[in-house]
Symmetry: C2
Subunit: 473 residues, 2 copies
């Protein structure tokens, strides 16, 4: 390690440990040179390095400052139409899904975890051992509720989120998508209304559409989630059958609903005697420790159906998800059975072992630190390059965030131009039942290298500027 790298490392650690906080002025070049007994140019080199990492910024004539990366410019609280609506936008979702495989460039549109983490190695080893040593295990039909080994480990994990579950309380599914679809069908009849966050994950909205349900989008705060007041109003006015929420590390916003608000939401559902479907898919990669409690942890009458999967914490290709269906267990088991019968056995066994031997907890601990750093880097890049009226969510978990541009910018058109330059993102309208959020988009910060990500944000910035110039002509 060279001298300047050593110095940069030290400064970086100070910043990361909040010794210097965002916005703080950092020591001058001269002062550092003296303190550390190094040359001026070494200090300058160290600062240049930190600038490239977007950790510090130079202000002309005043020196170096820690970059602001706090919630100073959050997206607005959403104001969806206050009536139940049919979900549209399937064409747009399909278009994005189909672009998954054949696209080059920097893809910021998919909610894919970082799967190159070395902490996943033991899991992959088990999978390959199983396939080699016990191929016959993968051949038969097996328990339609999923392997007991896995359900037992899921109960162990659930303790961290405040839940006491028994293996019989769980049903394993083909990912969280199947979990959501099954739960929706278990608690509704065709024509029913479901209250959802706004914005909401397109997969759950499309499941609402396919189950012949209507979506009632509720105003949602970018820091604390669905508005309880607005929800209560809606419950008063409409025969809402269930509430669907992703309250922990929300997709697309990244916020976590505070615990007391989760409890209020639960009590409200109780007083209207309706079900809650809680999507906790990102819960384990919250940046808080211990991880936030689920709404399910408050559930004392079985009205919460918790849905999750390992698609964001391990890898989506595993297709291992689950439901803790509470009092809806029998209906859920029926619909899961007709939906795809039982799930493949190897991924279940391999993940069960991964959890049992501690590999999962270790992996999560490391990967969530990684994501937190990537978040800061992306927030800094956005601040550095996108127009100053850009608003951005501040995820406290997951690896996605939500950007709100000036209202005169159309993210669908923006996407077209960006794709031509090799950059893609998930445009806002996918996250609305009716194609709203045209000036918003979702970015992923899990996978790409810092350089590629920064390059992509610069490309985005350039195209947005061109847009504005054109508009103003």
């Amino acid at each position: 390690m060279t001298l300047y790298q050593k110095l940069a490392k030290r400064l970086r650690e100070h910043i990361q440990h909040d010794f210097y906080k965002p916005g703080d002025k950092l020591p001058s070049v001269r002062q550092l040179a003296q303190e550390h007994g190094v040359s001026i140019s070494t200090v300058q080199e160290a600062y240049r390095q930190l600038e490239q990492e977007l950790l510090v910024e130079a202000k002309p004539k005043s020196g170096y400052f820690v970059c602001q990366q706090k919630k100073d410019n959050l997206p607005s609280v959403s104001r969806p139409p206050q009536r139940p609506l049919e979900v549209s936008q399937w064409e747009e979702v399909l278009n994005m899904l189909m672009n998954r495989s054949n696209q080059k460039g920097v893809q910021l549109q998919h909610a894919m975890p970082d799967m190159k983490a070395p902490t996943l190695k033991p899991l992959l080893k088990t999978l390959s051992d199983l396939a080699k040593q016990k191929p016959e295990l993968g051949l038969s039909y097996s328990d339609i509720r999923g392997r007991e080994e896995l359900r037992t480990q899921l109960c162990r994990l659930a303790v961290a989120s405040g839940c006491q579950l028994h293996p019989d309380d769980l049903v394993v599914t083909s990912g969280c998508q199947e979990a959501i679809s099954v739960c929706l069908r278990a608690v509704t009849e065709p024509g029913d209304i479901i209250a959802i966050e706004s914005p909401s994950f397109y997969g759950s909205m499309q499941a609402i559409k396919a189950a012949n349900l209507k979506a009632m989008e509720i105003p949602t705060h970018p820091e604390t989630g669905m508005s309880i007041e607005a929800l209560e109003l809606a419950l008063d006015q409409w025969p809402i059958k269930a509430i669907f929420v992703t309250p922990t590390c929300n997709n697309p916003m990244g916020y976590t609903m505070p615990e007391e608000k989760k409890e209020r939401l639960y009590k409200l559902a109780q007083s209207y005697d309706i079900a809650i479907i809680e999507d906790d898919i990102y819960g384990d990669i919250s940046f808080q420790f211990p991880r936030p409690k689920t709404i399910k942890s408050f559930d004392n009458d079985g009205r919460v159906l918790l849905c999750s999967s390992f698609s964001k914490t391990i890898a989506p290709g595993m297709r291992v998800g689950w439901i803790a269906p509470g009092r809806y267990r029998d209906k859920v088991t029926h619909i899961k059975y007709v939906s795809s019968s039982m799930c493949p056995v190897f991924p279940q066994l391999a993940i069960a072992k991964f959890i049992r031997l501690g590999g999962y907890t270790k992996h999560i601990r490391q990967i969530r630190q990684h994501y937190e750093k990537q978040r800061d880097h992306l927030l800094n890049a956005i601040k550095a390059y996108l127009p100053s009226d850009t608003r951005v969510s501040f995820p406290d978990g997951s690896f996605i965030l939500w950007v709100e541009l000036n209202p005169n910018i159309d993210s669908m058109k923006l996407l077209e131009k960006c794709r031509a330059e090799g950059v893609s993102f998930a445009p806002g309208p996918l996250f609305s039942a009716t194609g709203k959020f045209r000036n918003c988009f979702r970015l992923n910060f899990s996978e790409q290298s810092l350089e590629k990500r920064e390059w992509a944000i610069k490309v985005l910035a350039k195209i947005i500027t061109d847009f504005n110039v054109e508009k103003n002509k």
Copy 2:
């Protein structure tokens, strides 16, 4: 090989090649002894062996005969109630599914293929190589329609059933169960009526129930399938939205609808402008060569949705199925996406390679000969041990058959007693929307050894006799 074994082998071959046909008298003991230059007792030993295999029977004072195993005592044509009904029987189905894992004894209830076939080895090898050499391939999200490699090979296979398909015409699913559920949801609205065979596979009936549809059971002939005349009557009287059929190697009966009848069925659907969902899951293990055509092969306006999987031809644990959805492709893609998003990649790639290199065709060729022999053995055992008023279907493909007992016998009660003795089967009521077929059950003849199967049939016979004795007391 001893002398008597050699002789038995020779006779067995003659019988299997129809040199001696069912019912034919076989050469006398003396004659064979002379022809082959062996002792009388050697010939007697050989005949005893073939008797044990239920290939020949001794008739007192007249000598040895080839066992009858032809369609001389088929189950009756079904007479379901002629109105649309809700599907019940979920409790009974669940009960059977849950008994899957923890049951000892001879299990004749599951439609599980023989998975010990050495011809499956190359497939298992590929699976284990993939898991070891390219673990990253199994991690990502991939094409929601399924891997192109697999869809290409599926098109190749489809030629044998008379279909010209393009990879874009296919959607890969988590087994045939998901295919069925997705197709039902794609062509109906809640409340619609579906015409089905009677008896019908419980998995598709439960999918009908879960999709809030009604089932209209159509009288079904044990040799040629759904009655076209009865179907036409029903179509005249009720607003039927789609026809669901398993016309090739039907589950549970094993019949194959003749080709011209398939074409008539298609034309009828055309004249009423409704869809056909065709379940072809056993099609490739028909005992006919070339395999029978599908209804899909007559489809010139895209109204047939073909569903299938490798669960019966390879192994259910693969969970690889597919849909050829015709004109419903977009709707099917949507519902498949919300149902479970994309399917795991390894089984798709491994099966694609297995087909591409000829392993699949080889496997099918061998396994279907195996099943045909097992069928004959089971038919003989039934003839030998069950009461003479027993009726039994004559499957010309698959590895399951349907038994109809004297109407005063209740298969649910029978099952209880049989389970206590270590024998189980799939009771008739599972195959009816409303719990009919109480005196029927389905048996599987894929997996067990000849000895075990025969033992099980003897146990069954004893319990049935006790039943009758009790009744007559």
